[in-house]
């Protein structure tokens, strides 16, 4: 009798555990629809709402087979890394770029998206350079959600107060920054507080603008060393630029992008040097409600090396989208990615969230006149960037195109800026990290710049 009771208890407990586990498992059906998950970074509430309205509600209404759910997570990169390692995680994998995706693809954690690319015609639709950057051994593993450039945001009101116009070349730009410093303002505002990889923006910018994209490409192919004189000069120039106070002055390590945009809106500086995705921070301080939208402008960074074309872009991607190899709903995940690779999606997202959704379409058919607020200059900036990319006038953003340990080594550029090591020593460390990763096949395929 006792044994029988024990057996019944054991079976009940096992059944309860099984029910709980099955209830918690991913990929379940919800109301007859297959559930699809996307983990996204912890965007501010207003932007989460845009995501809900345009992506989630839009996608869910567009078909009746899948139910998309987006989870916002401040530690998304780390959590995705842990989840994918355990063959778990979301159906759609949000990552920091093609280099991120290639590291996971090499370990079999991402699904080959080539069949979906053929089904949906992605190759015809996406910018060639962006499509190729997501391939490993000819197979597609990721697509960027947005392209970006590293440029200059300017406050027209402050420029007018300084008695200068929008700079048209690098010398004018430096003159204007010197005038701002002489007037007791920041020469420019930016900073890496809370996110050290911000440094990657400036090492990428100077390598692109001084050494040029072709030199970076050659170094990434291993045909020239990272200690090549042109790259050493680029690093040294970035150090001179930093030490002249042109990157947030003494406050570089105590400012972040949001605070920098705030200072720009408070007329504390004429310039903010940073990625075009910073439009999303700008919209907090320059908007139609405060009536200062027209005060903000954006321009490509003035070309430093006079042998390079003008304008010259530092091409990057904001994030990448892939399909989890362990997802039971790969078709659904591909459908979501396809939904995000359309100009109708880009049009809607950019109405209220400028900066993050420059979908890398060959035909970025957005008309700036259809937009209000900062979406207008953002759309213009991205159309110009795409034209520049199509002409091959670009270098590379480290965080997007470089393998992870090499990117981490380049993030230490502040060691040169603060005089702890020379540009040569710094690049010798980069070379070490790069050699190791190249031997492991972790360098992602790169679009070849023309110039």
């Amino acid at each position: 009798m006792k044994r029988k009771r024990l057996a019944i208890t054991a079976v009940s407990i096992a059944a309860a555990i099984a029910l709980t586990v099955s209830g918690c498992s991913a990929g379940g059906a919800s109301g007859g629809k297959q559930k699809l998950e996307l983990w996204f970074w912890g965007a501010p509430p207003a932007q989460q709402q845009t995501m809900q309205d345009v992506l989630v509600d839009g996608f869910n209404a567009s078909q009746d087979k899948y139910e998309l759910v987006v989870n916002f997570d401040n530690a998304v990169d780390k959590n995705i890394q842990v989840a994918l390692s355990a063959n778990k995680g979301p159906d759609i994998v949000y990552g920091s770029g093609p280099a991120f995706a290639s590291a996971y693809a090499a370990q079999g954690k991402l699904a080959d998206m080539t069949p979906y690319a053929e089904k949906y015609g992605w190759k015809d639709r996406i910018l060639d350079s962006m499509y190729e950057s997501g391939t490993v051994d000819g197979k597609l593993y990721s697509l960027p959600n947005s392209i970006e450039d590293i440029g200059v945001f300017y406050n027209t009101k402050v420029l007018a107060t300084l008695g200068v116009g929008v700079p048209t070349n690098y010398d004018e730009f430096v003159d204007d920054m010197n005038k701002a410093a002489a007037a007791g303002l920041y020469s420019s505002v930016t900073g890496n507080q809370g996110w050290k990889p911000v440094n990657q923006n400036y090492v990428s910018l100077f390598m692109s603008q001084v050494a040029g994209g072709k030199t970076m490409y050659d170094a990434l192919q291993g045909t020239i060393p990272w200690t090549d004189p042109s790259l050493v000069k680029a690093v040294q120039d970035s150090s001179d630029f930093y030490n002249a106070g042109y990157l947030g002055g003494k406050d570089y390590s105590t400012l972040n992008f949001d605070q920098s945009m705030k200072l720009l809106s408070q007329d504390k500086s004429p310039f903010f040097i940073g990625p075009s995705l910073a439009f999303q921070f700008a919209s907090n301080y320059f908007n139609d409600a405060t009536g200062n939208t027209a005060d903000l402008g954006y321009m490509p960074f003035p070309t430093i090396n006079k042998d390079l074309p003008t304008p010259y872009y530092t091409l990057g991607t904001t994030a990448s989208l892939s399909i989890n190899a362990s997802s039971p709903n790969k078709d659904g995940a591909a459908a979501v990615i396809d939904y995000m690779m359309t100009d109708s999606f880009a049009k809607e997202m950019n109405k209220t969230w400028p900066g993050y959704w420059a979908v890398p379409l060959k035909n970025f058919d957005l008309n700036a006149d259809d937009y209000t607020g900062l979406s207008k200059p953002f759309v213009t900036a991205i159309k110009d960037t795409i034209a520049g990319v199509n002409s091959g006038n670009y270098g590379y953003f480290v965080g997007t195109f470089f393998p992870p340990a090499t990117a981490a080594a380049l993030t230490d550029i502040d060691s040169v800026w603060l005089g702890n090591e020379t540009a040569e020593q710094f690049l010798a460390n980069v070379q070490k990290a790069f050699d190791d990763e190249k031997a492991k096949g972790l360098v992602p395929p790169l679009p070849v710049p023309t110039n």
């Binding site: 990169d77 780390k78 890394q81 994918l84 390692s85 590291a103 996971y104 370990q107 079999g108 954690k109 890496n192 507080q193 809370g194 996110w195 050290k196 990889p197 003494k250 406050d251 570089y252 390590s253 105590t254 400012l255 605070q259 200072l263 504390k268 992870p404 340990a405 990117a407 981490a408 993030t411 230490d412 502040d414 060691s415 800026w417 603060l418 702890n420 990290a433």
Partner: protein, 308 residues
Amino acid sequence: MLTTLAPDTGRSGKPRPVPVRRGNHFRKQTATNYLLIAPALLLSIVIVVIPGILTLLFAFTNWSGIGFNFDFVGIQNFQDIFADPVFATSLTNNIKWLVLFLVIPVIVGLLTAALLLRRKKMRTFYQVIFLMPYVLAPVVNALVWQTIIYNPNGGVFGLFGLQPPTSSQSTSLYAAAAVDMWHYWGFLTVVYLGAMRQTPVDQVEAASLDGAGGWGVFRHVYLPSIRPTLLLMGVMTVIFSFLAFDYVYLLTQGGPAHSSEVMGTYAYAFAFSSFEFGKAAAVGLIMSFFGLLASVLYTWISRRDLTR
């Protein structure tokens, strides 16, 4: 029901059971004991032992942290780490951190506890106030300091035209340590006060009658009385100091230019920026080594005290 840890031999006064019955009873009791400790044991094995063994294993591999493809690389990770000047900076910073934490919060905590000892009415109120930073999440404490104290635009440092210490290589470590100590000393105060209140009152009164002053009573009565607590908290401080991570990561990210790097942030960068989990595991082992040293020292001192 009254329970006791004392053996019950002869307590009930009943005749001893026959050997066979006693064996059965013993086996049943042993099975019950194992069953009772099973959850804790299982948790320890799953959360501590297995990851510990895996960390030891991965420290000798080139594991990327993704999947389970890796090669054994011998002591290559340790060679790379010891050759890296950032490791030397991290280790030095951990030692500086340890010295700071063994001195400043301990002195402040002891002084405050001694003062609170005499303040019977408001003692609880002050303890709650002092303990508040300890119960707040590190991210909240860090944000408060970053925006209100260390902010060059609108913060206290900005108000006085001073450069925030987080922005300088020579002060960034101390800036992070200051916030961590601010959050930690209240906890030490409460622990020390609790220990001081266990000091026999007759000893305190006897010392006072013998003419000992405040310092004398503290030095010769309270201090010896709370010695085990001081020792335990000292060992815990050593262990925590080599595991320091949150406030450094939140306030300086180990910068500028690695100036405030500690081994915790150094390992984190390997694991989550470079995808070099093998090296991160090697750094983790080195961190654990120092904690182990402190634990062994504590055990040795405790045993020596017992055998005195």
